[in-house]
Amino acid sequence: MTRYFLAVVKIEGFRGINNEGDPLEIKFRADAVNSIFAANGLGKSSLFEALTYAITGFVPKLDRMVAAESAKDYYANQFHSKRRAEIVLTFRPDDGGADVTVKVVRETNGKRVVTSPSGYANPEELLAALDDETVLLDNHTFTKFLLDSPLDRGKSFSALLGLSKLAEVRQGLSAVSDTLSFNNDSGSKVLDAEVALSKATLAQSMIALKQDYFGLIGKQLVEPIIPATIGSDTTQALAGVALLKDQCDGQLLSAIDFDKLSATIKTAEKSEDQERLSAAITEIAALEALDRGTTEATEQTELKDLCKTKQQALASTKGASFHDLYAAVKQVFDDGSWMHEAVCPACESTPSESPYAIAAKQLMQYQLVDDTETKINDSWAAATWPSRLQKLETKLVKPADAATNQHGRLHGLLTAGQATVLDVDTAIARLQLMELARVSRLSELQTEKATIQGSLPPSLVHLIEQVERAKRIKGSLKSVIALTASIGAASKKLAERKRWKAFIDAACATFETAEAGLSERLIKAMTTQYKGMYATIAGGVPIVPSLEQKKDSIDLHLKLEKFFTLKNTGATPLLSESFRNAIAISIFLSAALQRKPAARFIILDDVTSSFDAGHQFALMEVLRTQVGLPLHKDGLQVVILSHDGLLEKYFDKYGNSHEWHHQHLQGLPPFGSMMMQAAGAERLKPSAETFLKAGQIKQAEPLIRQHLEYRLIQIISKVGIPVSLDFAIKDNMKMVGHALDAIKDGVELYKAAGRLVLDPNQQAALGNMIVPAMIANWVSHYETGSGSSLDAYVLLDVLKSCEDFADSFKYDCSCKQQPGKTIRKYYKTLSSKHCNC
């Protein structure tokens, strides 16, 4: 996978960087650690924010502002005439490909426009790929990580490992694969009920069809049925009757007009009795079709049992408000915001049983009520007796008495979730009553039928019965065909839903397993690395940090595997702020190395604030040797933004070498232009002078100290003044006082030997010791921490004196120069020049 270095950034009109018409341009080396120093107020934060905005699309500090503060107005530089910000980033692929340039513009109206001047097809996509949790790091990130609750720290850690986005997807998959919700939302429950009801109706129609077919044709109808054959058999049977032959022969069953057939028979009979007989036969058939089903008793018992279960479960709950209360109690335990396991977060009492267990148990009762409710509705929808009750009430109850009907009442109660066992019993009793009425009515109809049949010629009675059977066959067949089609369509829909459900369930499970595996591998790989980095930063102090995360929990606890002679202790109570920060930084850096996101660079803004000089240097060493290119071959391009004067010494040591590229940000933000100054120790004096002239003594002090160290060591080095072994090999000995002592001793040694090359004036200047005294005076103040008692004018004089002091070891050289020109150069040694000048 191609990864990208940050090669160049150009900024105009963003935050504190104005640079109207002359964008601030910063070049980075891909194969080195890049450090940028800027004093306070010189745009370092604006640079970090510009990079953040370009890559992520927002600035966290502004994003956290309330709406009334109108954060959107503060992205663009307040003094840029167009109030339009432009950030151009050039990325260099680590596979040797061509540079990619991406331009991010924040228009005057706040719109963010991303383009690629280099012609990259999808610059937005590239920026999104570069937006990783390990790319833009500042002190706030580390502090937050340490101060967060275990839950929030766990979330941050997850994000750090690149898992938060995965967790987001996993939670989404989990939500949309919830079975109960899907069945409700997708209408699967309704479809299931429809299919069940249609199947029950189909079964009844099939029974009626088979009975009538047998009655008309005289043979059993065998499944699977063939509608065309049944239709043909029926019409042929009717066509076999001479009276009906003309209307039925060669006709399709669907085309036969049964009213016309009845009229023909009536005409032949010339009697009203035929019509009454026909009606009686039809009603008898309809009532016979409503005979009690074999599963009815079982269905009724099941529904009653479920209602009973629900009533019992409901009795052990305390209503909706308590449900919310129990849910809230469980939630605060689950999310880690309540740490006292034995104390109830709602009432702060201490029950004998764990409050969490009580809440969970109560919530289970509520869940049981919901689950039983679903089963009750399913049972009602699939049962055959409700349909029978409904039809019997329609047929046998007079419209005036419809208010006594039980089917509609019970259905309404069930739908509202309010049905009780008593209500079901009432409906069952009603069905029994209807059954008695059905049998009674059948008896009446049979009597009427027999009476009419007795008064009609047998042949016509039989004919009327056959025509009625044929008519019912037509109706049943139509019903069977329609129901079969309806069941088929609904079943197809259900099958598609089930197929999707199986797919999403499998997807969810696959994702969860893969995510857990990735997390485990990343943590394992990180652990050794962050512990090693921490040991380096902490300077060998016998402290070993550890991160503990219980299985199936996102909570992340910061612990100490070892704290001097103690084992397995808490980290927060024992560690100082800087040591805690060192843990956080180690974790973030090792995560950055393990992850390998699209960005092969890491930008660190002001990450050394809590460290003293020693730990700052140790962190820089970790970055140089364990994180950054080129010393770490698979490492990252490290970009360090710092305002810490103490680090300047470190930057001076490595800056502008093959492994370190140091630059200095200077200028006049937020009005004027800013620019980069390739850094070297020579800039220390002008920088210190700038601070002093602005009255910023605190900022100037470290620069003055570094300048003095640099200049005195330069004298020692250039003139070859002998020094002690400690001074030569130990960095911490290269201090101003020691350097002065070495120079003074060297001068005295050569003077005593009569070989000192310095001219009399120079010797006099050194001899009266005004300059060394001044410097020593300042040094002693500085070393006792009271340097600030000297005002800016005194310190400016110190800087000037230092240059005068250095000048005492130089002479004018005119050889190898153009005529009349001289250069000021250091003596070769304390006893010789480089030439004869």
Partner: protein, 74 residues
């Protein structure tokens, strides 16, 4: 070989890899999930919002499921 995420990939790339894996199982459903899931993320912890989001997602899924499939005769 069970599906695995790779440490060398970003989260977005791993998610993309996941969708590609799903395509080998059911391309139609994988495309449906890839289209409908990202717009509803992140899922809210607030039950009412979560329910509403889920309903919208499921509505879109059902609409897709009930559409006549390409090549179907009816």
């Amino acid at each position: 070989m069970p599906f695995e995420f790779e440490t060398s990939l970003s989260a977005a790339q791993n998610v993309d890899k996941f969708y590609k894996h799903l395509e080998t199982i059911d391309a139609d459903f994988a495309a449906l999930l890839k289209k409908q899931l990202p717009p509803i993320l992140p899922i809210s912890d607030v039950p009412a919002q979560k329910k509403s989001t889920r309903q919208k997602f499921n509505e879109a899924v059902v609409k897709h499921l009930d559409q006549p499939k390409a090549g179907a005769t009816k």
